[in-house]
Symmetry: C2
Subunit: 726 residues, 2 copies
């Protein structure tokens, strides 16, 4: 009971700061710690200190004086308003504005976090974990709200569909950035249903590589991506974060090379010339090449070995040797990928972006290149190298033969006299990525960490026992009894890794890639992903609640750079699918197991056709979807409408009224009088212009005059006619 | 002297309304005329009436009371501000706001025009020429400012380059819409210089179809289009019209099918469901097909005949028959094109767009399809049908043979035994469009109208004489002597056609198309266009000043739909150029005059390659250009900066100050005292939370506590180490 109670109270703690000191630097540590507490209190945060695990101290932080809090809230809201995120200025009186739109958990935590980490000139305490100034501050994290978490997991575990309200809850707890991930995954999940159905039908009726299914699937990808863009925008409006990504937070690593006075604003700015950055960005091209080369060659190598051993070699130890490629991949690939991502990061740093958003965008882009190669190259090799050219290339694999096989006899004779390729290889590979890989993934993500953690706890307990028997005491030795459990909990949460939404999103995108690039090979891919994602969605919830520290609730109005990745994959899909369909459309069976011999021009033509069809359809779909109305858009429209109305009323209220032309007292006029007037006018007035305008007075005269002209003209016409007739 | 004087005064007339009545409807005409004068005066416009030519009356209009004028100005400026065209609200006092930014000629005329034509509920007189209500009002036009025109033409005739100031002048007189045309033409002209140089070099060094030149030329097109986008935006900022195209003016032809209450704004709106429009828009696809079919087949036919007569037929009357295709084209093509454009218009009306901008955009798009076919199909036939397949197809032209030639002997024997195609045909065609066509065009545009007009004047004089001799008198019979010349001038201007910037722009775009699609055939194309456009630019100035009525100065912030056309042509160019280069790269000479026999896959591959290269380069160029700073952008930035600063100052001035944490009177604390405090705290306070937060008071205690923890931990570690060592 006490346990659950301890679980469900956070003692009003907003954030916990982990202060981990090096035993060697006692004096420095104590000094820095004092500074820490002082800074915190100077921005109106109350502090409590408790003992942490292995040479660390836990600082519990809560808001003591609301002033700073409110100041921070107000500042952020004004900023929003000025950047057009809020449609109206927040009221000066902060309490009032808080009644208007009260703080969510997420906003509150975000603002406190800013209070802690923002620089002093921005009104914060300037405590940035692991920064040079605060090397001992290891981490600043919020405590989980277990009441909510329990409820959340329980609810999702039992329901089939995730609703928009569920997303709202997530947003209110973990911020928009996390909410967007769940929103995306959920949309993706829902969208997978139609292709699942179609896919199953296609599987039993059309079989693989049916052009019809291929077309449907491409169309589906287009619609999905465009729809997501639509919904993303809609959510941004619903959550009132549209445009936050424009609120540029300057990177602190950005170092300017030039001091220029902005000709516009007149203030001197520290800038980094765009031309120079462009030059640096050109390095991306060699980078991409190198990545392709390094990773590519490794994959090719393993691929070759695998084929050789699988299909050519038949000597001793084949059963063992079969695993060599797997071994090589699992050992070398992570190393190389790590190295390349490292290179990517350094290149990105070198490109020296001014804002975080730019930086992330570019960084993601670079990493996506790596992901693209590592994820899809294997299948592509099978589809576009092994199958068409296999019978030409494979025999040349005898180089391995030289190494492994003692004598020729150990090589498949088939290899020499017209090697036949294995047409099923491609399908096997796709199925692997569609089913096996995602199961493995799931295990790695959920099951393994769980056991790891259990093990760690066990281990700690044992060491604790060990220490109790004489050596140094465990951290909780001198906890006050009624806090013991709470503190234990905090300590364990302090030990958890930080949640990064990036990796989860990445996983989804890559999965989508498999579907849109190779879905046509095995129509059941969507079905398998549908099942997988149902669990994935829940597993991620569990992961966040149990295996990760509570993420700092950042805002976002998009999944950002991943959108580009999605669009690219859809586009690229239109090419691969066309190629695959053309090559294997007779189900991959042909002479020497190779599909009906492929005409280069046929292949290219089908690609050309399908790609341009894609571009056309994409254009139409995007256009159509952009017209669809939605709650978010209605909200936006309402706001804009109200603002405009207000402005109009303010502006137009004192417009002059239309003049009442009163020319009641005008004598009945004939042509004679008019001309008389004109003549007199001409006498009086001096300049020709005055004369010109003085011939007729008031509109009645003009009208009369005109009518006279008209009548005259018509009369004359008739007269003329009459004359003629005579 | 008097003449020139008459030329240079407009008698302070702002607009002239041509009221042309049907002799048959006397009563109706007079009534309507009275209404006209009344309406005009009711919006504070003074009127003078004079006799017009053949059964028409001229109504001269000037602003009498400034109130309406000012109201209109203010209204339009507020509208601008609310739509974000102006960065700041215009001052309430209109006189002040007029001192701030005085009216240009263009703005003044625009606003008076609106005053005349806007509906009454919008504060105008609601006089729309040729509308059902105002069937007799033929036209509302402003008088030319001959002083400016003279100066303008003289200046341009003598100077080589048109500067931005010249464009400003045009903008101030004729409005942004016209100014944009000149800006575009000028930019295009300037951009033609580099390819001219390169082209001439290529002509003498590389010859036609050099891949190198092709690549350069594609790159050039991309840069040009992107740069224009950049400059367009820049001009919009310079002229303060950025975003005017968002100020949606509802079409009066738009008829709504549904009355829905907008869930957002709550007001009932008349709408036309987007889904239905989308369905209607789908008709564009058959339309495009039909257009291609109708026009295409005609062109094909003529093409076939031409080839047959030119290269196969050798019977009697060849010299005459040679012209048949030309005759057919010049007679039928205009008819068909007219019919199709008519169809396009009706289709566009049927699609029932809500705003003028949408309508124009779509309409232009449709017409562009027609232009595209009529302009480029001929050359494409030569390049992609005649040359590659000529030797197959031409012999089948004997069908004509059957018709024309009495006996086989009259057919080129060559036609039967392996007909050889004429490799030079393509180049000839391109040269025709590059040189001959543009000269003809020039003549049609400038010279012909001039003579036509002279002729007309002569004719009028003669008829006038005729009438003076007894029949109905000419219009100027009873003009006051001192107005005679002025009125003559006005009458002749009233007789001029209205200027439409659309046609001129269209011409330029199509020209650009020839260059970007087929420039590679004959490297001198840019040179010829450079020369042509130097004259074109001046000719258009002359045209506007002399041969057209003064255009109503509309605003614009883009050349609008033509941008899409430009982008499309550049894209399409990347395909055609690649194809042409591949096919003719050995200068078109090959066996049977046909280029080296063409591999379909090679052709497709080169297209595929070049197109994706284009997409990639386009992406980079667009990105790079978008970073370039410019006066316009600086202005924009300054405005935004100032606004933000203002807002910030207003909002953030009364932010709370940081609290001074005063804990001076705190006794020196030891661990004992601290824990004592804690214990007592726990006794006093009730809830665990209070206890939790009461253990340490103020940041000093927390700091101290933490330091104690740290020291303790370190001491114990050392102790433990010590123990071990023993």
């Amino acid at each position: 009971m006490a346990k659950s109670q301890a679980l469900h109270t956070n003692m009003g703690v907003d954030y916990v700061i982990v202060f981990r000191f090096k035993p060697s630097e006692k004096a420095k540590a104590t000094a820095s710690f004092e500074k820490l507490c002082h800074k915190l209190s100077s921005v109106g945060l109350a502090t409590e200190v408790r003992n942490g695990e292995d040479s660390s101290v836990l600082v519990f932080v809560k808001v003591a004086s609301d002033e700073h809090m409110h100041a921070e809230i107000y500042r952020s809201r004004v900023k929003d308003w000025i950047h057009g995120v809020r449609s109206s200025e927040p009221p000066r009186d902060i309490r009032a504005s808080l009644e208007q739109d009260p703080l969510t958990d997420a906003e509150r935590l975000r603002i406190i976090y800013q209070l802690i980490t923002n620089y002093e000139e921005e009104g914060g305490a300037g405590i940035r974990p692991k920064s040079r100034e605060w090397e001992f501050v290891e981490n600043v994290f919020a405590l989980h709200d277990h009441t909510f978490n329990k409820h959340w997991i329980k609810e999702w575990a039992t329901k089939y569909r995730v609703t928009i309200d569920d997303l709202d809850d997530i947003r209110n707890r973990f911020g928009e950035k996390v909410a967007y991930y769940f929103a995306f995954e959920n949309t993706y999940f829902t969208f997978l249903i139609p292709p699942t159905v179609v896919g199953i039908l296609a599987y039993f009726i059309l079989g693989s590589f049916s052009p019809f299914y291929a077309a449907l699937q491409c169309l589906w990808s287009v619609v999905f991506v465009e729809w997501w863009k639509h919904q993303e925008r809609d959510l941004a409006l619903r959550w009132g974060v549209r445009g936050v990504s424009n609120i540029e937070s300057k990177r602190h690593e950005f170092h300017a090379t030039k001091q220029v006075e902005d000709p516009a604003t007149g203030e001197t700015q520290k800038v980094f010339p765009w031309s120079e950055r462009l030059q640096r960005q050109l390095l991306q091209i060699p980078f991409a090449f190198i990545a392709a080369l390094v990773l590519g060659s490794l994959i090719c190598l393993c691929f070759a070995i695998e084929i050789f051993i699988g299909e050519v070699y038949s000597g001793p130890g084949k059963s063992v040797l079969t695993f060599t490629p797997t071994v090589i991949l699992t050992t070398c690939l992570p190393l190389l990928t790590g190295a390349m991502s490292n290179l990517a990061k350094r290149l990105n740093d070198y490109e020296n972006y001014e804002t975080d958003s730019q930086y992330d965008r570019q960084h993601t882009g670079k990493l996506f290149v790596l992901d693209f190669i590592t994820s899809y190259m294997g299948i592509m090799l099978t589809a576009f190298v092994y199958v068409p050219f296999g019978s030409v290339l494979v025999p040349s694999l005898d180089v391995f033969g030289k190494v492994l096989a003692k004598d020729e006899s150990q090589l498949n004779t088939a290899a020499k006299k017209g090697f036949t390729i294995n047409p099923d290889r491609l399908r096997k590979q796709v199925i692997y990525f569609a089913v096996t890989a995602s199961i493995v993934n799931f295990a790695m993500e959920v099951v393994v960490p769980y056991f790891k953690r259990q093990g760690l706890i066990k281990f700690k307990e044992m060491t604790a026992k060990g220490t109790n028997s004489g050596l140094q005491p465990s951290a909780n030795a001198e906890d006050p009894p009624d806090e013991k459990e709470f503190l234990d909990r905090v300590r364990s949460e302090a030990g958890l890794p930080a949640y990064d939404v990036y990796t989860d999103l990445r996983e989804m995108i890559i999965q989508f890639g498999y579907l849109s690039l190779f879905g046509v090979v095995w129509p059941l891919v969507p079905a398998s992903y549908l099942v997988n994602n149902w669990f994935e969605l829940r597993a991620d919830a569990v992961k966040i609640c149990i295996e990760m520290q509570r993420p700092t609730p950042w805002r976002a109005d998009t999944i950002g750079p991943w959108l580009d990745a999605l669009s690219f994959l859809t586009w690229f899909g239109s090419i691969t699918v066309a190629a695959l369909t053309y090559m294997f459309s007779n189900d991959g069976i042909g002479p020497d197991g190779r599909p009906h011999d492929i005409k280069a021009w046929g292949l290219l033509l089908s690609i050309f056709f399908s790609e341009h069809l894609y571009l056309f359809v994409h254009h139409i779909v995007a256009d159509a979807i952009s017209r669809i109305d939605s709650p978010g858009r209605q909200k936006e429209r309402r706001d804009r409408y109200l603002t405009r109305q207000k402005l109009f009323q303010n502006s137009l209220e004192k417009l002059p009224q239309t003049v009442q032309t009163d020319d009641s007292n005008s004598a009945p006029i004939t042509r004679a009088t008019l001309e008389e007037d004109a003549r007199q006018g001409s006498l009086k007035s001096s300049t020709p212009i005055e004369q010109f305008w003085s011939r007729q007075k008031g509109w009645r005269e003009s009208a009369k005059m005109g009518q006279l002209y008209i009548e005259k003209a018509i009369d004359e016409k008739e007269a003329a006619k009459g004359k003629k007739e005579l």
